[in-house]
């Protein structure tokens, strides 16, 4: 019994469990037709890679790390106050004003409130919703704005 194309694609991507992989590997030893199909799939993978990547210049990621670490250092000093109002707004939408007032203590920092908000969302709405709310809170705030006063 020859494996289907989908099975061979998954085999070439090492996505099958070990038992099934071994069975297919044994079959390929004896079946030239399926071996040829597997070779064709490997060639198609190269064509697909070429199609999706084009001929891109190599991009240097090292600069980005420096910017991220610099923002993290500034974050510890002074996270943006705008985060407080955004986090509070999200708590008000999903829980209410009472919860927002309760969570936002007198001296709470923006990053502390953000952490509490995300923990609350994860507990009551699930992880996916918490991530989406985090995205909503951080939307439009770039590296500089995350740690600076937001000018009107």
């Amino acid at each position: 019994m020859h494996p289907r194309t989908a099975t061979l694609v998954a085999f070439s991507d090492a996505e099958l469990d070990s038992g099934r992989s071994q069975r297919i590997a044994r079959h390929l030893q004896d079946c030239q037709e399926c071996q040829a199909a597997l070779d064709r799939i490997s060639k198609e993978k190269q064509d697909l890679s070429a199609f999706t990547s084009g001929s891109q210049r190599a991009l240097d990621a090292r600069q980005g790390l420096a910017a991220v670490l610099a923002t993290i250092a500034r974050w510890h000093e002074a996270p943006a106050p705008e985060l407080t109002s955004r986090a509070r707004a999200q708590i008000e939408i999903y829980f209410g004003c009472g919860a927002a007032s309760f969570m936002e203590g007198p001296d709470i920092r923006a990053d502390e409130l953000l952490a509490k908000t995300l923990a609350l969302m994860a507990a009551f709405l699930g992880q996916e919703a918490a991530e989406a709310v985090a995205g909503e809170i951080l939307r439009g705030l770039d590296c500089a704005a995350l740690t600076a006063e937001v000018s009107p």
Binding site: Y94, C97, A100, F124, Q127, G140
Partner: protein, 306 residues
């Protein structure tokens, strides 16, 4: 970007439930009024009575489905995953019990449940599932929910008036308990006793849930937990009112009004997960919001055009 219709999608489930419930109740009251005005000369099929009525079962099915949607939004290990599992099982027990009880009452030669046992046994099984089993699972789920609410600071100690309200329900439950205990002990009376005890537990839980929801505010999650409290209060006070009415009015009227306790309660129990589903869908952006909801500042960095 355009806003989706306010009545479209799962996020509008709470509105639909309220609308359907309201329309159903109004129609039922109108039909009851017409029938009563016609001096009962017309034959009228009263809505199936009690917790196992078909319409109540249908609403419980909606609740079960909505609970499943909420349950699936939590990952393994999340504190509220177990809560919603228990509440969903409670709704499923309600549906199963209602269907079995209704089917067992059907005098039908081809009734598929007949080989499983006598209709009386099946009816009792249905009553147990849609009664004590459903209430026990709900009580367990809400107790777990109260623990989570307390962990996040939403636990509130009730004041005297709160205890007084819950006390009324507990007093009613104990009175019913005393009445039933005084009679010959049968399977049905045992079921009734267990239901009564569970109603006491649920009444106390409803009090704490209500206060936690009040502390939260008026957001979607607060509405969810508030709905559970309201549902329990509707059942408790509704049954208390019917019990009191039963002393002064004929039994057929009280049996008819029974539906007007259980159907709204089932609708409110369905409303609870509906609010949670609406909250999750709003958070994950599956609701199309108008462009005015997007932040005024776009990503500020300028990039040279390619």
């Amino acid at each position: 970007m355009t806003r989706t219709e306010d009545w479209g999608g799962l996020e509008s489930a709470p509105r639909w439930i309220i609308m359907v419930t309201g329309a159903y109740l109004v129609l039922g009251l109108f039909a009851l009024y017409v029938w009563y005005s016609a001096a009962q000369r017309l034959s009228m099929q009263t809505p199936s009575a009690g917790a196992e009525g078909l319409s109540v079962t249908g609403m419980a099915a909606a609740q079960a489905w909505l609970c499943l949607l909420v349950f699936r939004s939590f990952q393994r290990g999340a504190p509220l995953r177990r809560v919603w599992l228990l509440i969903m099982l409670s709704a499923i027990a309600h549906v199963a019990g209602g269907l079995i009880a209704q089917a067992s009452e059907t005098a039908w030669l081809l009734n598929p449940l007949v080989p499983l046992g006598s209709t009386e046994q099946l009816h009792r099984t249905g009553l147990i599932l849609s009664g004590p089993v459903q209430m026990a699972l709900l009580a367990a789920g809400l107790l777990a929910a109260l623990r989570v609410l307390r962990r996040f600071g939403f636990g509130v100690r009730p004041k005297a008036i709160g205890w007084a309200v819950a006390g009324i329900l507990i007093l009613f439950a104990l009175t019913r308990f005393g009445e039933t205990a005084g009679k010959q002990f049968t399977a049905d009376s045992a079921i009734s006793l267990i239901r009564t005890l569970l109603l006491c537990v649920l009444s106390v839980e409803a009090l704490f849930l209500w206060l936690s929801a009040v502390r939260m505010g008026r957001g979607l999650i607060a509405k969810c937990w508030r709905a559970f409290a309201i549902g329990i209060f509707v059942i408790g006070f509704g049954e208390a009112a019917l019990w009191a009415l039963g002393r002064y009015f004929p039994g057929w009227l009280v049996a008819t009004l029974d539906w007007y306790v259980w159907f709204p309660a089932a609708a409110v129990f369905a409303l609870a997960p509906a609010h949670c589903v609406a909250a999750v869908r709003r958070a994950t952006g599956r609701v199309t919001r108008p462009s005015s909801d997007l932040p005024v500042r776009a990503f500020p960095r300028t990039v040279p055009a390619n």
